[in-house]
Amino acid sequence: MSLLEVKDITVRFGGIVALNDLSFDLDEGQITALIGPNGAGKTTLFNVVSRIYEPTEGSITYDGQDLLAMPAHRICRVGIYRTFQNLALWPTMTVLENVMVGAFTSTKTSFPQAALRIMGARSEEKATKRRAYEVLEELDLADVAFHPATGLPFGTLKRIEIARAMIGKPRLLMLDEPASGLTHSEVDELSATIRGLRDRHNLSVLLVEHHMKMVMAISEQIVVLNFGQKIAEGTPSEVQKNEAVIEAYLGADAS
């Protein structure tokens, strides 16, 4: 059963076509990778699903709901969380607090409750803090919990983003180049982490990644984009054999 159905999505910025008539389905519980050369439109699709960019044409259905009818801040209420290629963290807050912001939709303390510390505000705060710490432990980040979310290694910051997404209990987790800036051994660890998260929390994962070894190792389905167009789709082995892919992307890579 497909969780996310992307149908005929076209995005134009002025005269530039960033995505052209893109359609694909993402199955529940799978890790799907979106690959393609730089500028192929992968991050653009993420931004369309997050409702940051407005598509020119097309529709996106998530779990039977029309995603394009929701404002950006509603997207995570239906269970879609994401990370960013260039990070979207809050540097003056500690790592723990960053993750606590991720729990925004699953908590409900309002301004007056917060100001007066009444009606469960105190206990909710405590519970949120505890949950955030647990998520950090699960992602091996407990030792930086009280460090400000700045000045840490890039790979750590990217994991903090994953933690921030995970505390919201996502059904669909979208990761934008989680492996960038990591060493080889760290990439292997990350692969294990992503798979582990998927298995433990029944996630579906949509992954944008340039690290081919990792993509081939962990994804069940791969969608290949080039210049905003889908040029191939299938399992890793199918994609690896695909002529168009080899020519447009892997071929260029190998030479």
């Binding site: 910025f13 991050t43 931004n47 940051i52 960019y53 960013f84």
Partner: protein
């Protein structure tokens, strides 16, 4: 009808003065996305300098005004180099603090050096009781028409500078993309410096024109600056023509509105020109609600 026409011209000439200062604000905003809250202070000081050159030293008035503006251009370029450039333009607060600080200092120094009493200031145009032309019974005074003329000349000039000179080209490059401009070898620092000097020049000339209508004192540009803010915001902070049109609109709104409201709305009969400020404020809010970037401003697409 003739009275209405006369008021229109008064409004347009006021608007032209707002427009000149607004262009000064826009020049700086275009290049750095910053707003110079000291623009009024610089213009005020320029007018005092004009007073020194023209009245005290006996130079021709036009030369005095231009010299005053030139002095302020030098001062502004110094301010840019020493006080503004060290800061990241994306961080707005320091520059707000610094430009307000400069405004405070300029006002204090002016009040201290030139006194706190109002000084009258001549117009560079014929301003005697009979210096006017009559059209359909309306008396159009030369001092008023002259201001509009100066505005047109200055806007023409700034377009010439930006479109026909090398530094103008560099300026446009920096305004559209500072990073790319730097990469192709544009000296961004020098270009921004030029922008500040040009803006102060504009402000200084405006100061010399306004002073005749308001008299000189250390705060005479405050209200003008607020109206110019309104003009620039209305037109869109990054559009020079927008600033001019915004200025003219504000001027028109201000001058016919005030007597009409005074005459026809009960309870407002004693009203001073300050109501215009309120009207201008509501006007900006209304425009920004419909077009958040102003009438002629460009909306930039944010990249994620």
């Amino acid at each position: 009808m003739s009275l209405f026409l006369q008021r229109m011209i008064e409004g347009l000439s006021n608007g032209a003065m707002y427009g000149v200062v607004a262009v000064a604000l826009v020049i700086i905003f275009k290049a750095t996305t910053l707003i110079n809250f000291a623009q009024g202070g610089l213009a005020m000081f320029g007018a005092y300098m004009a007073n020194v050159f023209a009245i005290e030293q006996g130079l021709p008035l036009i030369v005095g005004i231009l010299l005053g503006a030139a002095v302020m251009a030098v001062v502004a370029s110094g301010i840019e180099r020493v006080l503004v450039r060290p800061f990241d333009p994306a961080n707005h607060l320091p520059v707000v603090l610094i430009t307000f600080g400069i405004a405070y200092i300029l006002q204090a120094v002016a009040a201290w050096k030139f006194g706190t009493e109002f000084k009258s200031f001549p117009s560079p145009f014929p301003s005697g009781p009979n210096d006017h032309i009559e059209i359909a019974g309306a008396r159009l005074r030369y001092e008023r028409l002259g201001v509009v003329l100066v505005l047109m000349i200055m806007v023409g000039l700034v377009h010439l500078i930006l479109n026909k000179t090398k530094i103008g080209l560099a300026f446009r490059a920096v305004s559209s993309n500072t990073e790319s401009a730097k990469l192709v070898g544009v000296k961004t620092g020098r270009t921004l410096n030029f922008g500040w000097a040009l803006a102060a020049m504009f402000g200084g000339v405006a100061g010399g024109l306004v002073a005749h209508f308001t008299q000189l004192d250390s705060g005479f540009m405050d209200k003008i600056l607020i109206f110019s803010f309104a003009a620039a915001t209305l037109g869109g902070l990054d559009s020079i023509n927008g600033a001019v049109i915004g200025g003219l609109i504000i001027g028109l709104v201000e001058s016919p509105v005030q007597p009409m409201v005074r005459d026809y709305v009960p309870g407002f009969h004693f009203l001073t020109s300050d109501l215009a400020l309120l009207v201008a404020f509501l006007l900006i809010l209304a425009v920004l609600l419909v077009k958040p970037a102003g009438l002629f401003g460009t909306t930039r697409v944010e990249r994620v």
